[in-house]
Symmetry: C2
DNA sequence: TTGACTGTCTACCGATCGGTCGGTAGGCTA
DNA sequence: TAGCCTACCGACCGATCGGTAGACAGTCAA
């Protein structure tokens, strides 16, 4: 059913599109740039993806599927919701170092989505979002988590992380003598403290 | 020194540019749209701002000046840093309801700045950022605040807020029966709790 | 009255945009 | 061999991009 050997060109297009859309946004990226980026003609790109929007959608879908799958993996790997949420914080931080494009595209999509959504487009990250809020609700049902609003908590957690990540290239020059890696380490510790104090129920022995 | 009566057209241009750049981004907004938006010819726009970048810069500058001034106002109005930081949280939340364009432009600028900055452009929000981290450091010197990294704390606080705000138009349809205003209220309370638990030192009587 | 200046206009420019078109080379199947 | 399909290409399209040139009207000071 799934094609065993997709001719690689389409995959290469999705990869280059991910990085260029992340860097310059949808309108700031031309299909000429994308085609040249992997050394094919523009019309060849349009053979694989009939419109620029379709290619953009493919990038989002791949990204959303990966992220949803990662969260599902965490939820299956740990039965304890406390372990799940801390594992998710680790995942967030690790991914930002390994795949810095992601946060940019997600932010850009959130900014552009409202007007795109008018054209009856679906939101690719709905499963990802539901998976995360589901994790919170489940922990609350177990009595492990405080009764915060799950959606708000997740958005604040994601925001605290992603905003810092996309700000770093601009802001880091103003960090007093703090080295880059130290910022990421401290940030990770701060996120954990945030989860511990705002979400985890003290077991009170 | 400051022009007593700028002919209003330039101001109208900055206003329409603020909302269109917020909505569609720099590349997604054409100077034709901007000119038509206030009913003048495109070349008339270029009379006031010789390039699109200059107009964009004027928007950023106005925004950054306003925001810096607001924070300075808070710091002068309260001598107690604890009152300052909670007043700032209120300011953040109030402004997002009154001036929703702001958060969009700031986010877009952070995303686009890294490649723009290569062209030796300055960052408009540096004073705003320094004012906020200065507030944290001052509170720490008074012993009122915990010894968190001020830059990281500010970025996480701003991120938790701004990310939620820009996500709302997309995400709100997935809030179970929660009404819009309630989300904003809960969000505000959550931000306050975050500040209280992660920043404020327990005075221990 | 004249001349400089300001704000606005129409007309136009070259470059680039997303997308279409006709066609070709090569592999697979009948 | 014939027919078909996939991947790719260069040439081209109308539309739009940011920006320029020049004309014209109103204002104000010399």
């Amino acid at each position: 059913m799934t094609p065993q050997k997709p001719p690689a060109t389409a995959e290469k297009l999705i990869d280059i599109a991910e990085s260029l859309f992340a860097e310059k946004g949808f309108y700031g990226t031309s299909i000429r740039d994308l085609a040249e980026g992997i050394g094919i003609a523009k019309s060849s790109l349009l053979h694989h993806f009939p419109t620029k929007e379709k290619l953009y959608g493919a990038v989002l879908k791949k990204l959303a599927d990966e992220m949803t799958h990662e969260v599902q993996g965490i939820r299956e790997a740990f039965s304890d919701e406390k372990e799940q949420i801390f594992a998710f914080v680790q995942l967030l931080c690790n991914n930002s170092e390994k795949k810095p494009n992601r946060e940019n595209i997600i932010l850009r999509e959130l900014l552009d989505n409202p007007k795109r959504a008018e054209k009856a487009k679906k939101w690719f990250f709905v499963d990802y979002f539901r998976e995360l809020t589901g994790m919170i609700k489940s922990g609350q049902n177990q009595g492990m988590f405080k009764p915060v609003n799950p959606e708000i908590f997740i958005l604040q957690l994601l925001g605290a992380h992603r905003y810092l990540i996309i700000s770093l290239p601009t802001v880091k020059q103003f960090f007093d003598a703090t080295i880059y890696q130290q910022i990421l380490t401290d940030h990770r510790a701060e996120l954990e403290s945030f989860v511990k104090e705002r979400l985890i129920n003290e077991e009170g022995v």
